[in-house]
Symmetry: C2
Subunit: 272 residues, 2 copies
């Protein structure tokens, strides 16, 4: 069995999310059907993580275990000829036989797009959260800074999720308003060693409360410290969320201590 | 009866075009239904021109004749509360009682977007023509220059159309490749005192033949001179086309001689 690492992009609007579900149209479902139509054998894929219905990906990573002997780039082109117009394989590459798309992921980067202009954004409606109320993007940016570092992000995890640890390390986070003809767009980007269920959407929903000045910037630190979902703002809707990229360590080595989810760096706790 | 000038934007993807058709979902159909739900009376609207199925508008102009006494901006907000998420009224303004959205239009501007990157553009698929073959945008730009001025554009009119005259004046036309992360987008913009049926899409289809170097730049002048549809390239698909704006003369005066469709300026003919 070979392992092939597929990097794919998709518009999640018409899908019930990544994960295969009988009777629903899912990204995994259409991808595995396309693979099977090429190899003739049932396909087994695993993504870096699930994305929910309506959530998009610019660079989702999928591990494919297969007996098929096609060159990765030939497979990529054959898949693109069979996939629907809203899913594309950007890259296909040989991976180590034990490549694990979820377990070997070291960092993930997400983008969330808000449109806060007064008028409905007809062309962006499936690709942003339309607040119809102006947000203070600079206040959101300053408030988001407390997320940087290693923290217990339990406040930003949707109920029902069951993770061993709710501690994650955020390497980068910013909020900024677009330039020129993108002046009605407010974009958040966040990179971490892992995300809890609905973590980005809960963070965005909380920051938006600050952005419309219903709470002060300092509220973000309070919510984080509370380690309680009820302390946070609402969960922002799915259509503004994009999985931007996933970074792997392909050496097969275990993650460096600081990259391991759950690792708590004393300095960061102090800084908090 | 008052006349109200509505400026609307729409994503044409899910519509069978502007024009009302029984049993089909059209922009005019959903707009008139929204108006009737506010005023209680059947609505009568007329646009600056029809757009085909899949064609978009950033600033279509619609004349509404109504007895309704709402302030234009109140009407605008009431309409936006009732319209589907892919149609929006950007502006509503009182117009002279005899305002005629088609007859009083002096200039129209269209944009056509091509994506010529090697990979499927999943997020732009409904908003561009994907050629999958690289185009020489500069050659297209130079070739398009011969369209400027007053000419018989019969070569760029789809068969079946029946216009009194096929002479139009093009005020501005350019083709350019996008910067930075838009490097796979080639955009044409064209402004004229009027357009024949499928004129922009025929022009784009013809320029694309030049862009992929199947014909020399000088071919554009040949096609124009031929005054024969069979001389031109194929018609580009609808989803790349956007009606950008429509310019009116609200003075009620007849158009200046040079703005009248069919007017032939001797200099332009000479330059051709």
């Amino acid at each position: 069995m070979r392992s092939i690492k597929l990097t794919i992009a998709y518009d999640g609007t018409c899908y019930a999310g990544w994960q295969f579900q009988p009777g629903r149209t899912t990204i995994q479902g259409v991808l595995e059907a396309a693979i099977q139509s090429i190899t003739g054998a049932p396909a087994r894929t695993m993504a870096s993580g699930r994305t929910d219905a309506g959530v998009h990906a610019l660079g989702q990573v999928v591990a494919l275990r297969t007996d098929c002997r096609l060159e990765p780039d030939v497979l990529r082109r054959a898949l693109n000829a069979r996939l629907p117009p809203d899913v594309v394989v950007l890259e296909a590459a040989e991976a180590p036989p034990d490549f694990h798309a979820t377990g070997h992921a070291r960092r993930k980067r997400y983008r969330y797009v808000i449109h806060d202009g007064p008028l409905r954004a007809v062309f962006r409606r499936n690709y942003c959260w339309q607040t119809f109320a102006r947000l203070d993007a600079e206040a959101m940016h300053r408030a988001a800074a407390v997320l940087r570092g290693t923290h217990d992000f339990r406040s930003f995890q949707s109920s029902g999720a069951d993770r061993k640890t709710t501690v994650r390390t955020v390497y980068d986070v910013f909020v900024r308003r677009g330039d020129a003809d993108q002046g009605d767009l407010v974009t958040l980007e966040i990179e971490a060693n892992g995300f809890l269920y609905n973590m980005v959407r809960s963070i965005v929903g909380t920051l938006a409360v600050i952005g419309r000045r219903a709470k002060p910037e300092s509220w973000m630190a309070e919510v984080l410290r509370a380690a309680d979902r009820r302390a946070a703002g609402p969960t922002a809707p799915p259509q503004g969320l994009f999985l931007v990229c996933v970074t792997y360590d392909m050496t097969g080595q275990p993650p460096a201590e600081a990259d391991r989810p759950g690792y708590v760096k004393t300095d960061d706790l102090g800084a908090e």
